[in-house]
Amino acid sequence: MKLDFILNGKKVSSDIEADSMLLDVVRDMGCLSVKRGCDSSSCGLCTVFVDDMPVLSCSVIAARVEGKCVTTLEGLQKEAVEFGAFIADQGAEQCGFCNPGLIMNAIAMLRENPDPTDEEILSYLTGNLCRCSGYEGQLRGIKSYLEFKKVKKGGNADA
């Protein structure tokens, strides 16, 4: 069957099977930031946005995104590079396999709640598993990024 949707701002078309999963479709289209982790809705590695909402692409049947906007990390380059640097600065990426999913979900969180508390951060990101870091570095990275954003915003206001 034919699937038409918008991937990272561009109209795309693909021939899919009735049981194709979104994860496989976007990876076949070159979005290799989207990782296959648990493949059972548990780890968050395959997080993408569908109409700006974070979902697990391993469990979304591709046919369901007909006409919708799908965003992967490749479509969020600027935001992701800026934010990712703060995660790296805290040594929180280690093997790095979980990072794309974590960054996607953290961006979703910050869009929904620009000034989260520590508890809100930990709570929002519980669906992103990392087997290397123990999450402390990631939390520090997110907090430093928030501080940076506050300072930057203050600077702009002064100017």
Partner: protein
């Protein structure tokens, strides 16, 4: 592994019902649990285009469409106020935000899962399941029925005056619960729904209690023991029957005290 031959996004509920009468066809909700099974599906029936993904609130009730997500339940201000935060508490530890953005209320109800936080929470309220063929069915009756070829269209929660609290025991945040518990006071009676025993939730009423809404710590302790003594518990890798029974009496007590404080 899940194999699907054909995918159909239906244009009305009658079409979905007709398709669903064939044994190898299936309604797809969030698909998280369905995908884990080893199954050959002829036609996957998608209700996404039927506008059943909203929560409508009136003066007297909530109407929750079957395609409403668990995240919508979590974020709905009216439900949050009505249940004193109990519904939010019930769903907040279900895997993660991304999961809850697609897991549906209809799927959670239809599965009558033994581990379900959602079923436990709604069992403690004045809840009805609207099925396409069977019509309006009380949640307890619905839960007792075996899954059939009917379709859940929506859930109705009557806004009967309610005090409620939800608690669950988990080994780790986002894991399946060891035990789920919702305690509420409505229509003059205390209700305790306990799930993940590891069987699906059941309700015990505190009809013997003559204290009304005003409960003491002793009342709550006795009610906890009473509820635990009236239910059966089983063992699995997360806990033994004895452990669950002990935990049940403690959670019911704590939830009852919390519900009592919420007035």
């Amino acid at each position: 592994m899940l194999r699907i031959k054909k995918y159909v996004k239906v244009s009305d509920i009658d079409e979905a019902y007709e398709l669903n009468q064939k044994k190898r066809n299936i309604i797809i909700g969030g698909m998280h649990w369905l995908k884990m099974g080893d199954r050959q599906v002829n036609t996957a029936i998608d209700l996404s285009d039927l506008g059943l993904d909203t929560i409508e609130e009136t003066e007297d009730f909530f109407e929750i469409g079957c395609m409403t997500t668990l995240r919508q339940l979590e974020q709905h201000g009216g439900l949050d106020r009505y249940t004193g935060g109990a519904v939010k508490e019930a769903v907040k530890n279900i895997v993660g935000v991304q999961f809850r953005n697609t897991a549906t209320v209809g799927g959670s109800f239809y599965g009558r899962y033994g581990f379900s936080d959602v079923l436990t929470a709604f069992m403690a309220m004045d809840t009805y399941v609207v099925c396409h063929n069977a019509g309006i069915v009380n949640i307890k009756e619905f839960s007792a029925r075996k899954p059939d070829r009917d379709i859940i269209v929506k859930i109705i929660v009557k806004k009967t005056k309610l005090d409620m609290a939800y608690m669950a025991q988990r080994h780790a945040r986002t894991d399946f619960p060891v035990l789920t518990c919702a305690v509420s006071f409505w229509a003059g009676v205390w209700h305790a729904a306990v799930g993940a025993r590891p069987a699906k939730a059941e309700v015990v009423l505190g009809e013997y209690l003559d204290c009304g809404r005003d409960i003491s710590e002793e009342d709550a302790e006795k009610f906890g023991e009473y509820v635990a003594s009236r239910m059966s518990f089983g063992s699995n890798m997360r806990g033994s029957a004895e452990y669950r029974k002990k935990i049940a009496s403690v959670l019911v007590k704590r939830a009852m005290l919390e519900a009592g404080r919420k007035r």
